[in-house]
């Protein structure tokens, strides 16, 4: 294979593709879409984060404005955790519109994360949202198909191919050259998007950055470059193996429909079918059942809590709980919270595992489908994926646990042991300076090493697909026929 010839074919491809006026029209439309997607992406990210930050401050202000009161009242006053959208969310929305962003954190109760975009949208949201990632994953491959479908097939139809081959060019040179040419054209579409994301990242530096933003960005860039290379070689190979340009186009469109629309949708549907999500009631009542078995702190005759009381009394060598050196009701609530939280965590982990099993069908289908691979890689690196959402839930729930245990400890320490139960009134109270001492919730973006672990199947499959694409070019160059 002579590099000189490869270059020639690449240049020739470039020249042929960029001559017709329709190419410029297509490019213009794509750039306009890029601008539109960038503007709406930035606007959405910035306003959403502003809204959430203002409300986080608002919720905090009213928390701190509480006067001296019984700590258990504060545990129920609770606070809100607002999910922050990662900075790369302007590029890839991922699950952003389908995950809740607000959760109320209080003692004893694990509330649901509410107010996702989808709850306030009509059914048309399921048509998808225009983002830069969508342009790269869905629209650009189609454009490449349109530009490249006839590249070899047309040469065969009009007989140019025979002449070229008889003049000493090899199939390898033709296929590599044309693939490179198409890839170069593809850069005309890709680089503007890359630049906008880089510029937006620099301008929006004051926003919450993802963990290791630039490294994520680099992986996204490499991922898309490989993906686009795969698409380019695929186009050329299909064109080389089709009898006519029309057939090549129809095949490529069939592939697009299968890999972009049908397979991903069926993969997720299969996951959902095989690993059914329990109903909310089944989930909650399973926890409730185990709670009752373990001990119900709300039941005055509960054996577990009666035993606990007796042993505490024995240890401190007193006969009444009001003689203990600490507030007993705070102590019981601390134990109760510990038990129920552990139970909830156990059941929640099970639920998350069901979700993960559902998603794994999609995750591992990336070995059959490069389009799924890039989708997974892109949203995981952008931090808008499932793992980031679950991480937010964990952070919020851990904060909730800290909050209620801190309040229980304040109660044990500062509320008189004589106050057996109840939290009403102005006598048994704790100073309000303690409210400020308890730090506000702060949503940390998911650590890079977790994301990279999450995206490993997609990453490996992209690498494999790239190698496969090279192999396919070599294989086709041996098998291809001139007529």
């Amino acid at each position: 294979m002579k590099w000189e010839n490869v270059r020639l074919f690449a240049l020739n491809f470039w020249h042929n593709a960029t001559t017709p006026k329709t190419f410029y029209l297509l490019h213009l439309i794509f750039i306009l879409l890029t601008v539109y997607a960038t503007v709406s992406g930035i606007q959405k990210n910035v306003t959403q984060n502003d809204i959430r930050k203002t409300h986080q401050t608002k919720a905090r202000e009213s928390w701190e404005a509480n006067p001296d009161k019984h700590p258990h009242r504060m545990a129920h006053f609770g606070t809100y955790a607002f999910r922050v959208s990662p900075s790369l969310g302007i590029f890839d929305y991922g699950l952003e519109s389908f995950t809740g962003n607000t959760v109320f954190l209080e003692a004893h109760r694990q509330n649901s994360v509410n107010f996702s975009e989808a709850t306030f949208s009509t059914g048309t949201l399921r048509f998808g949202e225009l983002s830069l990632a969508l342009l790269l994953q869905l629209v650009l491959p189609l454009i490449l198909f349109f530009i490249g479908f006839s590249s070899v097939a047309a040469d065969r139809q009009n007989g140019t191919l025979k002449i070229v081959l008889s003049q000493g060019a090899s199939w390898k040179e033709i296929l590599f050259g044309k693939s490179l040419g198409l890839f170069a054209i593809c850069m005309l579409f890709f680089i503007p998007i890359l630049l906008t994301v880089i510029i937006a990242s620099l301008v929006l530096e004051n926003q919450v950055a993802s963990n290791l933003h630039w490294l994520r960005m680099l992986l996204i860039t490499l991922g898309y470059l490989s993906f686009l290379f795969i698409v380019c070689t695929l186009t050329i190979v299909v064109s080389a193996t089709s009898s006519s340009s029309k057939n090549a186009l129809l095949r490529l469109l069939g592939i697009w429909l299968l890999l972009v629309v049908l397979l991903p949708k069926s993969a997720q549907a299969m996951g959902n079918y095989w690993f059914p999500t329990p109903t909310k009631l089944a989930f909650q009542s399973a926890i409730e059942k185990e709670e009752i078995q373990k001990g119900d702190s709300h039941n005055p005759d509960d054996p577990y809590y009666n035993n606990l009381r007796d042993s505490v009394l024995t240890v401190h060598n007193v006969s009444k709980i009001t003689d203990l050196p600490f507030n007993y009701s705070g102590f019981v609530m601390r134990e109760g919270e510990k038990n129920t939280s552990a139970l909830y965590k156990k059941h929640h982990a099970r639920l998350i595992n069901i979700y993960k099993s559902q998603n794994n069908v999609t995750r591992f289908s990336s070995f059959f489908n490069p389009f799924t691979a890039i989708r997974q890689l892109s949203m995981t690196m952008a931090g808008t994926d499932f793992a980031s959402y679950i991480d937010f839930q964990h952070q919020a729930d851990n904060y909730r646990y800290q909050l209620s245990q801190t309040m229980n400890e304040l109660q044990m320490k500062y509320i008189s042991p004589k106050k057996e139960s109840g939290s009403e009134g102005k006598t048994h109270i704790v100073g309000h300076e303690h409210w400020e001492e308890f730090e506000d919730f702060n949503h940390e973006p998911l650590a890079f090493n977790v994301s990279i672990k999450e995206t490993l199947p997609a990453l490996i499959s992209i690498v494999l697909w790239t190698l496969f694409a090279f192999g396919l070019l070599l294989f086709t160059s041996k098998k291809a026929k001139a007529i």
Binding site: S40, T47, R73, L95, K280
Partner: protein
């Protein structure tokens, strides 16, 4: 008749036609399996709540017989959004919105938007239901069947033969298209027959409207294709143009519109309401009891006879505080519902000029899985909540014992979604677009 038979033979001679017809039938059946699975899960959830609710009441009543106020602090009542079997055809928002809500008589706003257990990945990938097959895939089939109806004749050289032998060239083309339309209608009706038996759908207006709208939608794509092929361009050009139209109408435009709506109309009101209802209730623990109770009585003057107990903890004051969570967040709540309506209106207005979005919304409305119907269900839940309050408040304030109440009468309550849309109204844009395209195409085909 003979000509039609020949047309049919010509059409189904090609392998691609068979494969694509089989494929869409298969996908249609898969989509119905998915739809029926969705229905079964919802029905299971409803059955579960029936058995659970009784046990739940029995347990709470035995634990807190003496203390009705505390009992109602824990007790939750189910309000069920009764399932329309058509939801199996168009799942719509039925996956993100809960079908069963369990509410206590405490602050309603704190419970209103609680979500079900959902995997966001499932939501994002969307449902592969029959509505998806009809809206996304049938147009593709129309394109595959028709893009070369005319150009294949010119490209294979048979057109001149036809032109001199047939009485009307337009009639020839239309008959050719009608055969293909009939084939698609057979598949469509076959799928709806399976849907009827698989999902146990009664044959009613809504079901027939969905079928009618689908048939009209297929006609719309046929006229579009007719319009494109009447320009007598090559097969390749027709395919490219028709697929680009498909891409723009079904992927790009809706995606662009969604991005517009979500960035243009964010919903900060939801978060403000959440904070307002919390503060409305919780800050009352720190203020004097009398103003809270007075405020409560100005909402419910009929309870004034229960007096103004301000010593220590009492349930009248407690539920008065809970009531304040709802009453004090009224402004934010109204702003929220206004914003939701605005979003919906905008979305509907834009969708009305894009047939596929329009059709999706119409399907969801007919199947009871639209956003507006869910909001109505939430309003129904609020009404149910109010009923419960009015029933229990006097009993709590009179310190009645739990066993004086017949708990068995509190079965889960069912809500029926209203589907009073006029299907003909949603057909108008489709009909109009089809009509215009036919009117433009006919003069073009005269010159064939």
């Amino acid at each position: 008749m003979i000509t039609y038979k020949l047309f049919l033979q010509q059409c189904i001679r090609s392998k691609e036609v068979w494969i694509s017809l089989l494929l869409i039938t298969l996908l249609g059946i898969i989509s119905l399996v998915i739809g029926s699975k969705h229905l079964v899960r919802q029905q299971e959830a409803i059955a579960e709540i029936k058995t659970y609710q009784q046990q739940h009441f029995d347990r709470q009543a035995s634990l807190h017989n003496e203390d009705l106020g505390l009992l109602l602090y824990y007790t939750k009542f189910a309000y069920v959004n009764n399932l329309n079997p058509l939801a199996g055809i168009s799942i719509g928002q039925g996956d993100v919105n809960p079908t069963v809500k369990r509410i206590s008589i405490k602050t309603f706003e704190a419970q209103k938007f609680d979500t079900d257990l959902v995997n966001p990945m499932n939501l994002q990938s969307g449902n592969l239901d029959l509505s998806f097959v009809i809206i996304y895939l049938f147009p593709l089939l129309v394109i595959v069947l028709t893009f070369n109806a005319l150009s294949e004749e010119t490209e294979t050289g048979t057109w001149r033969l036809v032109a001199i032998q047939t009485k009307s060239k337009l009639g020839f083309l239309i008959s050719k298209l009608l055969i293909r339309l009939a084939l698609l209608y057979i598949v469509l009706i076959f799928l709806f027959c399976i849907a009827k038996f698989m999902l146990n759908i009664p044959i009613n207006d809504s079901f027939l409207s969905i079928l009618g709208l689908s048939m009209l939608y297929v006609i719309f794509w046929f006229t579009l294709s007719f319009f494109v092929i009447s320009f007598k361009k090559s097969s390749g050009f027709n395919a490219l143009l028709l697929l680009s139209i498909w891409l723009i109408l079904i992927i790009l435009l809706p995606a662009g519109i969604n991005a517009y709506i979500s960035s243009k109309y964010p919903v900060p009101e939801a978060l403000s309401t959440a904070i307002a209802q919390r503060d409305g209730y919780h800050t009352k623990w720190d203020t004097e009891k009398l103003p809270t109770i007075k405020k409560f009585y100005s909402h419910y003057p009929q309870f004034k006879k229960y007096g103004y107990p301000t010593d220590g903890f009492n349930w009248l004051w407690y539920y008065a505080m809970q009531q304040m969570g709802d009453d004090d967040s009224k402004n934010q709540r109204e702003a929220l519902s206004k914003k939701i309506k605005l979003r919906e209106r905008t979305s509907k207005q834009i969708a009305s000029v894009i047939p596929n979005m329009q059709l999706q919304l119409a399907f969801n409305l007919l199947a009871g899985t639209s956003m507006s119907q869910h909001m109505e269900y939430l309003q129904g839940t609020e009404g149910f909540h109010e009923e419960l309050r009015l029933f229990f408040y006097p009993k709590i304030f009179e310190k009645q014992q739990a066993d004086t109440i017949d708990w068995h009468r509190f079965k889960p309550k069912y809500y029926e979604a209203k589907t009073d849309i006029n299907p003909f109204k949603s057909m108008i844009p489709l009909l109009l677009a089809s009509g215009v395209m036919i009117l433009i195409s006919i003069p073009l085909t005269r010159k064939l």
